[in-house]
């Protein structure tokens, strides 16, 4: 077993009367590529947002390298700089060029020099094939291009874990492939990733673990070979059969 980075214990989240997450327990080890599957409303995105603390959990704890994550702002900021996030709607800074987008975090948070931040931005933009677009603004890019820049922006922080919240759901079908191939490259480079997705083939090919969520619970936690051939939970069977049929 390799080193554990994040552990989630008894995590729960309610929005008013609505209980979105219940008793979530799992951990992420270094090098893991975990895909979180489940139908909409099952709590996948909320789980990811809780892990990044964009939502505060109603109960339960998150451990980072074995120590419990506190709720003080400074502690959360530092934690977030090591646990990056890529969003469905990209969330690039609209008033900044691609280059500035990739330098903001490293300059502001990691306090890198201009040159270091620039070099890091170029390296990561090259890795996602977006380096020629450093002078463009987000509004001038296609969805797939934006998402690749957003991934580069996350990579510039050199995070220990990168969270992906449905990174291809807002893209045209022909753009999806570009983004997925970037993510496959990252998996090959042993980046630890936690990915909420609806791309079954991608999950099958790239992940080493699949979490299947239903009604706020993780009902199945299995390697993809097992999950896609012999799922145990009835909801997982139903979910998969719909994909095969569709």
């Amino acid at each position: 077993m390799s080193e554990e980075i994040i552990r989630v214990e008894e995590l729960g989240k309610t929005f008013g009367e609505h209980q979105v997450l219940r008793k979530i327990d799992f951990s992420v080890a270094k090098g893991d590529v975990i895909c979180i599957l489940g139908s909409s409303g099952s709590g996948k995105s909320t789980l990811l947002r809780c892990i990044n603390q964009l939502e505060t959990q109603s109960c339960g704890k998150i451990f980072f390298h074995g120590s419990e994550l506190g709720r003080r702002q400074r502690e959360i900021n530092e934690y977030r700089s090591k646990v990056g996030m890529v969003f469905q709607s990209f969330n690039l800074f609209n008033n900044m060029t691609v280059l500035k987008n990739c330098m903001k975090g490293t300059r502001k948070v990691l306090k890198l020099s201009k040159q270091e931040a620039f070099d890091r931005a170029i390296t990561n933009l090259k890795a996602v094939g977006m380096a020629p677009f450093i002078n463009a603004y987000p509004s001038q890019l296609s969805g797939g291009q934006k998402q690749r820049v957003a991934i580069a922006r996350g990579l510039c922080m050199e995070p220990e874990v990168l969270l992906f919240d449905e990174p291809t759901s807002a893209l045209d079908p022909e753009m999806v492939g570009d983004v997925l191939s970037v993510m496959k490259d990252l998996a090959k480079k042993d980046l630890t990733m936690l990915i909420v997705t609806h791309e079954m083939d991608f999950a099958k090919e790239v992940s080493n673990r699949v979490l299947f969520m239903d009604k706020g619970y993780i009902v199945e936690d299995a390697p993809p070979q097992k999950f896609f051939t012999a799922p145990e939970h009835p909801r997982a069977k139903e979910f998969l059969s719909r994909f095969i049929a569709g």
Binding site: E78, F87, K108, V109, G129, Y137
Partner: protein, 251 residues
Amino acid sequence: MTDTPTNSLEWVWFIAQKYSDLFIRGTLLTLAVSVTGTIAGFLLGYIVGIVQDTKINKEDYFFKRAMLRFFKVLSAVYVELFRGTPMIVQAMIVFYGLRQAGLEIDPISAGILVTLLNTGAYMAETVRGGINSIDAGQREGALALGMSPFSVMLGIVLPQAFRNIIPEMANTFLTNLKMTSVLNVIGVQELFLQAKTAGGTYYKYLESYLVIALIYLVLCFVFSRVFALIEKKLAARKDYVLAVEYMENTQ
């Protein structure tokens, strides 16, 4: 210009020339009061707007929460007070109030103070609206990088909000340029009061006010152009230069 003017148009010209120094001084004072009052008011408005938009984090230290709550209440009261009363009344209360409290404030300072307080109250709401108009994703994208909520506000949200509220800021400024005329009630010798003086000697009030109407019109026109220019300068660009040095096939 020894002939006595025979019609209104000639009178306008006559008065404009004869009292040009009064009008020039009035114009300068109007500009000084409205520009300083507005800029200071914008700053105040940004501060109040940000305070109102800041959420109280239950996990913060008690002192920090208490301070934030205090400023939130204070700013809410302030906004309601100044949006709910006429500027002419505010001018009287501030000027005579301060004097009665023993503070020998001169009319110009009092005028600037009233203008800035009035502007701040309206700007606070404008800034809040501007902040709300920015997609939550912008904030989340920055938070996810580990930026502190304060630097997210200052570095990501406000610059975009600023761009969105330029038209409203222009409105406020033009309003102030004209609203300084009410400050004549506390004896600020701005354009309106000068026109009253200029019109008095020959009993030609209409013509005198026509002169300053023209001056206000020109000032407003110039400043609305300036704001349009700023807006254009900050508008999203349509083109960009491809960084060919990083194209795959050139390496």
